[in-house]
């Protein structure tokens, strides 16, 4: 049985920041990451980030993990990293079970920070299981991490930020994007992203959805259809588009299995992407010593995931007795950063969601 002060499940932006801040206060931390590298979703984000300087705005997502890793290195032996290690179970006695290279390992931490991120949602339409229909994040991984074209002609479903950004990245890789469609009457993502792809000649069709995917073994053609004000199909408005790839980018839902397993109180909050745990200001769930940070606590952005990670790390360390004199100052800084990230009309949905789960 491995012992550590704080086990951090997931080495994305939230988990990395949690590790940095907890170890900075003097706690011994273990990051457990199922992939072969740290960074989570950041490793495929080739675009410059939004937010403020403190969250590395105008740095490309792919460059942020290196910055965080340098911070981690300075903390020396307080930080342990387990790669290729999947947390399988989290038990009521606080034991975590991990699979690493076909070995089964048990870890008994004093506290746990869950930062497992989110997974892509799916959409219902006839033949939605044909090969060629992929999550937008999957296409991004294939193209930006592995250097492989997903296909030649793409229909993007979803005009939120992810749909818009991945469309732009497809164009950068020399792949044709036939159209971006969205069932909503308005583009969900930022207009800067939308105008970038529009300028490159990609139509964005709002109030449109997928009616049918065609193909026997692989995707060949997509039929889209217009929706009226009541979200009903407009008869005769079908358009056929030749495409060998359809990207589904209709949102993410928190990867909350471990939280369910350990018995956290969960609430369904559509604004946050699905079932999320009830938590206090310090990001501790209803199960003492189990904290959350990042997309698993509510689907948001890397910027807020990083600040939440810092906050959860700080508080988890303090509650185990590791607090330096700057603790209060750092904690208040995190709370202020989160407040400003979530202010204004862009943060309205998140604020509404969080008001249901913070006790």
């Amino acid at each position: 049985m491995i012992k550590t002060d704080i086990a951090i499940v997931g080495g994305g932006p939230a988990g990395l920041c949690a590790a940095i801040s907890a170890a900075s206060q003097g706690a011994n931390v273990t990051i457990i990451e199922k992939a072969s590298n740290l960074g989570g979703q950041l490793i495929k984000q080739t675009h410059m980030f939004f937010g403020s300087q403190k969250q590395y705005a105008s740095t490309r997502g792919i460059d942020i993990p290196d910055i965080l890793m340098n911070e981690l290195k300075k903390l020396g032996s307080l930080v342990n990293v387990m790669l290729d290690s999947t947390v399988l179970g989290l038990y009521e006695d606080g034991v975590l079970t991990v699979e690493q290279n076909n070995k089964y390992i048990k870890i008994k931490p004093d506290s746990i920070i869950i930062a497992t991120g989110a997974s892509e949602k799916f959409l219902a339409f006839p033949n939605n299981d044909l090969p060629g229909i992929y999550g937008a994040g999957a296409v991004q991984t294939l193209m930006n991490v592995h250097g492989i074209k997903p296909g030649n002609k793409v229909v993007m479903v979803g005009a939120g930020n992810i749909g818009l950004i991945v469309s732009y990245q497809l164009l950068q890789a020399g792949i044709e994007v036939k159209a971006i469609i969205d069932a909503a009457p308005k583009i969900g993502g930022y207009y800067v992203h939308a105008s970038k792809v529009r300028r490159m000649g990609v139509p964005i069709l709002t109030s449109h959805t997928v009616k049918y995917a065609h193909g026997k073994e692989v995707l060949k053609k997509v039929t889209i259809v217009k929706l009226d004000n009541n979200w009903q199909e407009v008869p005769g408005s079908e358009i056929d588009i030749d495409a060998d790839v359809m990207c589904i980018s209709v949102g993410l839902s928190p990867l909350a299995e471990l939280l369910w397993q350990v018995g956290c109180d969960m609430i369904y909050v559509p604004e946050l992407g699905g079932h999320v745990p009830v938590r206090n200001q310090e990001l501790e769930t209803s199960v003492k010593g189990v904290y959350v940070a990042g997309d698993v606590a509510g689907v948001e952005e890397a910027s807020s995931a990083m600040v939440e990670g810092r906050l959860a790390g700080l508080c988890a360390a303090k509650n185990l007795g590791y607090a330096k004199e700057n603790f209060e100052e750092l904690k208040n800084d995190c709370i202020e950063q989160l407040y400003s990230l979530r202010s204004g009309p862009v943060g309205e949905k998140i604020r509404a969601g969080l008001s249901k789960v913070i006790v």
Binding site: K34, A35, S36, T46, R60, I62, S119, E120, F122, D129, L130, P131, G132, I133, Y134, G135, G137, A138, V139, T141, L142, M143, N144, H146, G147, I148, K149, P150, G151, N152, Q172, A173, G174, K216, E217, V218, L255
Partner: protein, 101 residues
Amino acid sequence: MRINEHPILSFTKGKLVKFTFDGKEYEGYEGEPIAAALHAAGIKVLGHTHELGRPRGFYCAIGNCSSCLMTVNGEPNVRVCVEKLKEGMVVETQKGRGELK
């Protein structure tokens, strides 16, 4: 279908290795996911469902959804979107649910 030129990224590849898919020989780069090597070779169909025989490809590409299960070196239910390619691997379409040994 590999990306050879990219305005922002350059791709560092492992060494070129050979593997087989359903008995036919293919090449890919060591350390890349098996699914990536197959996709680069134009193979999108990774298996068929047990009941209805519908074709299956990958979906999430990061090991979350189990849409990409194949038999690798005789072991069934391997998520090929995250399993790394090695020299001489025997990759096969999985028939049935696979047995635990």
